[in-house]
């Protein structure tokens, strides 16, 4: 196609703004537009003409879980850029876990699962144990120190139609931090500020699928652990 032809340029700009281009043609057009300010201008002109139609869609409040997944999705990206590794070199790890052999075994599972990587030292922030004291979830801090990853050390059983929800408890009412997967490998990422205070308790309760409808735990607390002093 001759992308210098003014008629064609106008037509493509219009169909792009309308949303009528097939997906691949649209992707091609976006690449063209990135280096062609005049083409981008044509598109913007069409968008300005049509955008009043957007305002005729009745606004609707999306459920809170949408924002929670957006936060997860975007934190996940900054976290996965710096894979946690070198856990065994972490001093905080050994300080925090002189306690049980089970904890060490659990950390080994995690270490093996994560594999060797750059020599960063992600600190263990907390270990959440079940009622028998067996470590079940672990919270670790990444290189960027602005987020904390929470994941099970081994697959946990979870009933259908239920979710694990993580809470931070520091004096006041529990603060919801998001839903934790029952499977390792997909950590829940929470802002480090939410678990900054030593002595904060992290707890995981059993909730209806999608999380507590009330914003406070409604089911039993299955796992908990204190945030360790740094």
């Amino acid at each position: 196609m001759n992308y210098r032809d003014p008629k064609l340029r106008n037509l493509l700009a219009c169909e792009y703004a309308m949303g009528l281009l097939p997906s691949r043609a649209r992707a091609r057009f976006e690449r063209l537009m990135a280096d062609d300010a005049e083409l981008a201008r044509l598109v913007a002109d069409w968008q300005d003409r049509l955008t009043p139609i957007d305002g005729t869609a009745p606004p609707a409040a999306p459920p809170r879980r949408v924002w929670r997944s957006i936060e997860q999705g975007t934190l996940q990206r900054s976290f996965s850029a710096t894979p946690p590794a070198g856990l065994l070199q972490s001093l905080a790890f050994w300080r925090g876990f002189a306690s049980t052999a089970a904890a060490v075994a659990a950390a080994l599972v995690l270490y093996i699962a994560l594999g060797p990587g750059p020599a960063r030292a992600p600190a263990v922030v907390a270990v959440l144990a079940d009622s028998s004291g067996t470590p079940a979830f672990i919270a670790t801090r990444g290189e960027r120190a602005e987020e904390v990853a929470v994941a099970p050390v081994r697959p946990q059983s979870l009933e259908a139609q239920k979710s694990f929800e993580l809470w931070a408890i520091a004096g006041g009412p529990p603060k919801p931090l998001g839903l934790v997967s029952a499977m390792p490998g997909k950590p829940l990422l929470v802002p480090a500020s939410a678990v900054a205070a030593a002595g904060t308790v992290l707890a995981i309760s059993l909730e209806p699928q999608g999380g507590s409808p009330t914003g406070q735990p409604t089911g039993p607390v299955l796992f908990q652990g204190k945030v360790l002093a740094n």
Binding site: M18, A40, P52, D54, T56, A60, A61, T74
Partner: protein
């Protein structure tokens, strides 16, 4: 938006709070299915976070950019539905749509001008334009819905938009 480019999460949350209801409404109109609309809204905001640095205020407003990212995702999702029949809704309220003006000054004025120009189009070409823009119909879906050959539908849309352009710019 500058805050979002700086990776300021509070600015990102504020942008979401301000724009999500309108964007969710747009996604719902295209998809007619809440779960899919939720997915698309989520994908769009994650993409916005990822691509914030490429946003160029010279090329249009933040809202226009958000709407573009969202609509394209919603339209793609709609096109992936296996059966053509599942994609067609019963949008009989197209004139109600153009009448449901928001009374906010700027947008209201823009819509009034557009409505006036839309009213000058013949009925079926106008429906084609609105079904495509507001509901995300493809040319193929328009042809099916309006029981008209696809080539005719394409030229309706093209000619209608050129007429709209002359009417609005003139």
């Amino acid at each position: 938006m500058r805050g979002v480019v700086r990776r300021d999460r509070a600015a990102f949350a504020a942008l979401y709070d301000r724009t999500a209801p309108q964007l969710f409404g747009i996604a719902l109109r295209i998809l007619r299915q809440r779960e899919e609309a939720e997915d698309v809204l989520q994908e769009a905001f994650v993409a916005v976070w990822d691509r914030a640095a490429s946003f160029d205020p010279e090329r249009g407003s933040v809202m226009t950019w958000l709407v573009t990212v969202l609509r394209h995702r919603a339209i793609d999702r709609r096109r992936r539905r296996a059966h053509l029949e599942d994609r067609l809704g019963s949008e009989e309220d197209l004139l109600a749509l153009t009448a449901a003006a928001s009374d906010e000054s700027d947008r209201g004025a823009g819509l009034a001008a557009l409505q006036k120009c839309l009213a000058e189009l013949e009925e079926r070409p106008r429906r084609a334009v609105l079904l495509a823009y507001a509901y995300g119909y493809t040319h193929e879906e328009l042809a099916k819905r309006l029981t008209t050959p696809i080539g005719t539908v394409k030229s309706w849309v093209r000619r209608s938009l050129e007429r709209l352009k002359r009417c609005l710019d003139g």
